[in-house]
């Protein structure tokens, strides 16, 4: 039943791509005046990185604003390409409390391939959520997950207080025999100084992607920590490179 509901959501989301992407670009570009510093290069890089990838992809961006997912989906690909290659339109895992109260947001989250998560929720719900994620990745879908677990309060990649959820997912799907490709994404607006709900208008965004192949000799929680730490360190390195430009 759950798998059927995910299949249905996937189908509706894919059919809705022109509407979802159109609305997102209209809002972000038209209304908020956002622009990209290096969009063409980034899209070319993403296409090259994902071209030969048949298996699942886990996208791990840094996290500063509430609309990072929207910006990243806009950046990843034009709408027509997302219809042809669903991997370019990743699933997201937003905190349920951030949008469930608003029916319009709920609708957009549904057609935007969101799987709500309740942080610190009951164990059985968390397990069911993780099972859904595993099922999606087994089907070769892509998943966007913020490895920090929350927006960084310092305005920089949080290398101290990050979550290990992404590490657990990678460890779990590797046990299932899958080899997910992990892509770190670094996104930052030129007017972004710290954490915010929505970036200020007329921001000009920089975005970059790097493949990371985290490894660990451990299993279980220790593996989750190891893997998540390597992803966070890569993101921190990308941030250093951004500020050193």
């Amino acid at each position: 039943m759950k798998r059927l509901s995910i299949k249905l959501q996937n189908l509706i989301a894919q059919i809705s791509v022109p509407f979802t992407f159109g609305t997102a670009v209209l809002l972000l570009r038209g209304f908020l005046g956002y622009r990209w510093e290096n969009l063409r290069d980034f899209r070319r890089k993403i296409r090259a990185l994902l071209q030969k990838q048949e298996g699942p992809v886990i996208l791990c961006p840094n996290h500063l604003t509430m609309i990072d997912s929207l910006l990243l989906i806009w950046a990843m690909t034009p709408a027509w390409r997302a219809i042809a290659k669903p991997q370019l339109f990743p699933w997201n895992t937003p905190e349920k409390r951030n949008f469930a109260h608003n029916p319009i947001l709920r609708f957009f989250c549904y057609i935007g391939k969101c799987l709500p998560v309740v942080r610190q929720g009951p164990v059985d719900k968390t397990r069911a959520f993780m099972d859904k994620i595993r099922a999606l990745l087994k089907k070769g879908q892509s998943l966007m997950m913020f490895p920090e677990g929350a927006r960084s309060t310092s305005g920089r990649v949080d290398t101290e207080n990050f979550a290990y959820g992404v590490g657990k997912i990678i460890d779990d799907v590797r046990k299932d025999g899958l080899k997910p490709k992990v892509l770190c994404l670094y996104l930052r607006g030129n007017r972004q100084t710290g954490k915010s709900s929505v970036p200020r208008r007329r921001n000009r965004f920089f975005i970059d992607a790097e493949v990371v192949e985290p490894t660990t000799p451990h299993s279980g929680l220790r593996a989750a920590r190891d893997l998540a730490t390597q992803i966070i360190q890569r993101l921190a390195g990308m941030e250093q490179a951004y500020f050193a430009r």
Partner: protein
């Protein structure tokens, strides 16, 4: 290891992760690690791994999921250390 010894060590391990120092001072077996002590949920993994290192035990994911209170942690550790 006795439950009292385990409790003392558990509180000492959680100390650096607890935002609510007052609750830690008056902690009992019923104290909930996340909400009462103000421990960040992501740090619960670090705490469990610190238990494994300190007590030389292996706590599997399922057992780790059941640890909510200090008493739960003590019971797991006492059971795993064999007394």
């Amino acid at each position: 290891m006795t439950p009292n010894e385990a409790f003392t060590k558990v509180v000492a391990i959680i100390g650096p992760f607890a935002k609510n120092a007052d609750a830690l001072k008056s902690a009992t077996r019923e104290t909930v690690i996340l909400t009462d002590l103000g421990v960040n949920s992501a740090r619960l993994v670090d705490i469990i791994l610190a238990f494994e290192d300190e007590f030389n035990v292996a706590i599997d994911d399922e057992a780790a999921d059941k640890i909510r209170t200090l008493g739960d942690a003590v019971d797991q550790i006492v059971a795993l250390t064999g007394k």
